[in-house]
């Protein structure tokens, strides 16, 4: 089948603004969109820039907008798009474009760093493992699926409106540590996100959950944080 790819192009060395370029390619139903981009680059236009690595939805490099929706290019096959054989491919929204489909993700990772994404414990580690209930590990499990692809944050209407909002990905990492029974920094973690740029920035619009390529119930996890903040408030009064 002949498919058309209309791809956003921007080269900071020559372009003052972005434009779209059309490529035509013979495709099969099980080709990944990433395969198609690779073939365009190898066979037609070696200047096309995009990020990629593992090519099976684990490394989180290749989130982009495909036909208006945020997807991982390695996780979408031609046959998944049943409506047409033309594809419009654009960089993730929210972030500045460096070149073509490559965006500057530094602000995303800066927010990630900010929420203290590591285990904090005020108890001495035992000689062997710390004990943890299987149910507790299971409770945070959805958040462990996160591959930091930034799809959720890029899709989030609040993040687009308020650059200071932590965004769903960073808050999901907060969830992962807040509810890990081994972490003892619950109080200071909650204090850090109990604000309109933090957890209350979330207006439960579900876009993050909708686009997550790993099927993480992001909105629900953020809801658990809100509930925890309320519970702790109640405990204090």
């Amino acid at each position: 089948m002949k498919s058309t790819f209309i791809i956003y192009r921007y080269d900071p060395d020559v372009d003052s603004e972005g434009h779209y370029q059309e490529y035509s390619l013979e495709t099969g139903p099980t080709d990944k969109i990433l395969d198609c981009l690779n073939r365009i680059r190898w066979e037609q236009d070696p200047t096309l820039a995009y990020r990629f690595s593992c090519a099976h939805g684990i490394c989180g490099s290749d989130a982009m907008v495909i036909n208006g929706r945020i997807e991982l290019a390695c996780q979408k096959l031609i046959r998944d798009f049943r409506t047409a054989n033309n594809f419009v491919i654009e960089p993730l929204p929210l972030f500045n474009v460096i070149k073509d489909l490559v965006v500057d993700m530094n602000p995303f990772f800066e927010k990630h760093r900010h929420i203290r994404p590591y285990l904090i414990s005020d108890t001495d580690a035992p000689e062997r493992e710390r004990l943890q209930e299987a149910d507790n590990q299971g409770f945070v499990e959805p958040a462990l699926r996160c591959i930091l692809c930034a799809s959720c944050t890029a899709a989030c209407p609040i993040s687009r409106a308020n650059p200071d909002y932590f965004g769903p990905a960073a808050l999901l990492r907060s969830f992962r540590y807040l509810f890990d029974s081994r972490d003892t920094a619950t109080g200071s973690r909650l204090a850090q996100i109990d604000s309109s740029n933090g957890i209350w920035g979330c207006k439960t619009m579900w876009w993050c959950t909708d686009v997550c390529p790993k099927g993480i119930p992001v909105t629900k996890c953020l809801g658990q944080i809100k509930r925890l903040v309320k519970e702790k408030e109640k405990d204090r009064t």
Binding site: I98, Y118, E129, A134, D183
Partner: protein, 576 residues
């Protein structure tokens, strides 16, 4: 641009990150990586990390050591394997203390499951030794260590491609790197360099490896004088998704999944009566291909079925969630109802840069080193995996030897000052190389050369090998290397110029492919993952030795051997 550090680590996968943590807050450390740190291929490790914790059943590190030695087909160095397996439980507890979210037993301890080649009591029965976090074990450990490095404030240079090592008078004192976003060259001047650059699985057409796994570090060290070791031992994982090579974890079989041929037969019972589907990867890959050769592939094609339909939704959703997603997305298979079509896929390099157990890089068979240069992880060959690596020993390897590298480097840098650099432009040579590549006006494209190399290596230097075909491959690789001289780079830009990097990567891979093929041709026996149809038996009299390769400018590498270290377990026939 010039930078000065105590230590430069190349590669932000698990061995690089673990070493950085070990170097401590008082060591000025830079990590440079061709991809953003969390995109590193360590994150693709699925099934588990092995350690004799004994949480599920009685276990001892010596059983783990025996299994690893036997799994290696007796080519692994037993002093190194002892270090690996003895240090394993401490390694797991350390990860747990850092926050790695392992699956748990009903009494709250770290859960463990069975994996290929891991047994109790020196080979008697399969044992639960693999610690895991569902089937995304590598990913959660990678995230945890990366976040630990963020906490420590370690300097990351993401999307920086290593170009050259700076070696003066036998001492390594830095690296030159290319910044993808700007096309600028950076020189990192340091007391020591650790290569933690991972594998080279992209040499083969069907591969579980990431696009980044092109063996850059191995090839750059090789060209700079380091010896490569045991390159002919390339692991083909038995269960890659048909045609795509995407990994389906051995944990599937650890949890009870079985392989079936076109007759529905669980054929591994015939080949490995004791541990059946949990035989080591080299054997299972050969068995699958034997079934296919005997006409028992599914529908007469070149794949078999991996059946987990009997495991139940609970086990699949809590322990094998990731791979059920892969099967659904890429093969359209609901694993609770249908088997997955699988075939062997290139997965892991047992060989690599020759190192001692402190990760120091060796240049020959006389234990000579390049001062200040270290290597750890898949790019290195200690050797703990010998001729065949057991599943869940690679995550262990990168963490145990990443830490040891960090410790050894820490000791080393306290004995020396920052070496002074001769000349005033350490990036000059690299700049000239890049300019020459960009100016080249040949007819060749790196993508076609790479495709040709991948096809040749897959057809003749994968699971089954034969002297006649290998001889032809040596000639073909020479021709491909010649064609490389005529690659023209279409992209002349400075921003994310993949075209330029592709050309360099194919050159690296060809150097390594040549060493792999030379090793396969020289080694007239079959051992572990190296199987020669014209010499099907193991030959301990002549070949219980490591292969060593030394780089030569315009001819194939020089081939040497060195003895295997045997401390505890004398070679025996390898049966399961």
């Amino acid at each position: 641009m010039k930078h000065q550090y105590d230590v430069v680590i190349v590669g932000a996968g698990l061995s690089g990150l673990r070493a950085a943590i070990e170097l401590g807050e008082d060591t000025r450390t830079a990590i440079i990586s061709k991809v953003f740190a969390t995109r590193s291929h360590s994150g693709a490790a699925q099934g588990g990390i092995g350690a004799a914790l004994g949480n599920e059943e009685e276990d001892h590190w010596k059983w783990h050591m025996f299994d690893t030695v036997k799994g290696s087909d007796y080519l692994g160095d037993q002093d190194a394997i002892e270090i690996l397996t003895r240090d394993a439980p401490r390694t797991i507890y350390e990860l747990e203390h850092m926050g790695v979210p392992f699956n748990r037993t009903s009494d709250g301890r770290i859960a463990q499951r069975a994996f290929g080649g891991h047994t109790s009591n020196f080979g008697k029965a399969p044992i639960k030794r693999a610690c895991f976090a569902a089937d995304r074990t590598g990913r959660v450990i990678l995230d945890t260590l990366w976040e630990k490095c963020l906490q420590r404030g370690i300097d990351f240079f993401n999307e920086f491609q290593i170009m050259n090592l700076t070696v003066q008078d036998g001492q390594c004192c830095g690296v030159t790197a290319y910044e993808l976003a700007t096309g600028k060259l950076h020189h990192f001047h340091s007391k020591a360099v650790l290569l933690a650059t991972g594998g080279a699985g992209k040499i083969y057409r069907t591969s579980s490896n990431a696009f980044a796994s092109t063996g850059d570090g191995m090839a750059i060290a090789f060209r700079a004088g380091a010896a490569l070791e045991d390159m002919e031992f390339v692991q083909f994982h038995p269960t890659g998704i048909y045609k795509l090579g995407i990994l389906i974890s051995e944990a599937v079989r650890g949890e009870g999944g079985v392989l079936r041929n076109s007759e529905g037969e669980r054929f591994m019972e015939r080949y490995a009566p004791t541990i059946k589907d949990l035989a080591p990867r080299d054997m299972v890959s050969r068995c699958i291909l034997r079934e296919i050769q005997s006409g028992r592939g599914i529908d007469g094609k070149d794949y078999v079925f991996l059946d987990l339909t009997h495991l139940g939704e609970e086990v699949i959703s809590s322990k094998l969630a990731e791979i059920s997603g892969f099967a659904q997305i890429y093969a359209g298979v609901d694993v609770t109802k249908e088997p997955i079509p699988v075939q062997p896929t290139c997965h892991y390099m047992m060989g690599g840069i020759a190192t001692d157990t402190d990760s120091r890089v060796m240049i020959d068979d006389q234990d000579q080193t390049i001062a200040g240069l270290y290597a750890a992880g898949e790019c290195a060959c200690v050797s703990v995996h010998g001729a065949n690596r057991l599943g869940c020993n690679s995550l262990l390897d990168v963490l145990v030897f990443g830490r040891r590298a960090g410790r050894a480097i820490r000791r080393y840098i306290h004995t020396i000052g920052l070496p002074s650099l001769s000349g005033n432009d350490p990036t000059g040579e690299t700049a000239a190389q890049i300019a020459a590549l960009l100016d080249n006006s040949g007819e060749e494209r790196s993508s076609t050369i790479r495709t040709d190399m991948q096809a040749i290596m897959m057809d003749s230097v994968s699971v089954f090998r034969h002297r006649d075909a290998l001889l032809k491959v040596m000639d073909k690789l020479r021709l491909l290397k010649e064609r490389c001289r005529h690659i023209s780079i279409q992209d002349k830009g400075h921003c994310f110029n993949r075209d330029l990097l592709d050309a360099m990567e194919v050159g690296y891979m060809l150097d390594l492919a040549e060493a792999i093929t030379l090793g396969a041709l020289s080694r007239d026996e079959s051992r572990g993952a190296h199987y020669r149809e014209d010499c099907p038996d193991r030959d301990d009299k002549h070949w219980l030795v490591h292969s060593l390769f030394r780089y030569a400018e315009s001819e194939p590498p020089h081939f040497l051997t060195k003895p295997v270290k045997i401390t505890e377990f004398e070679p025996q026939e390898r049966k399961y």
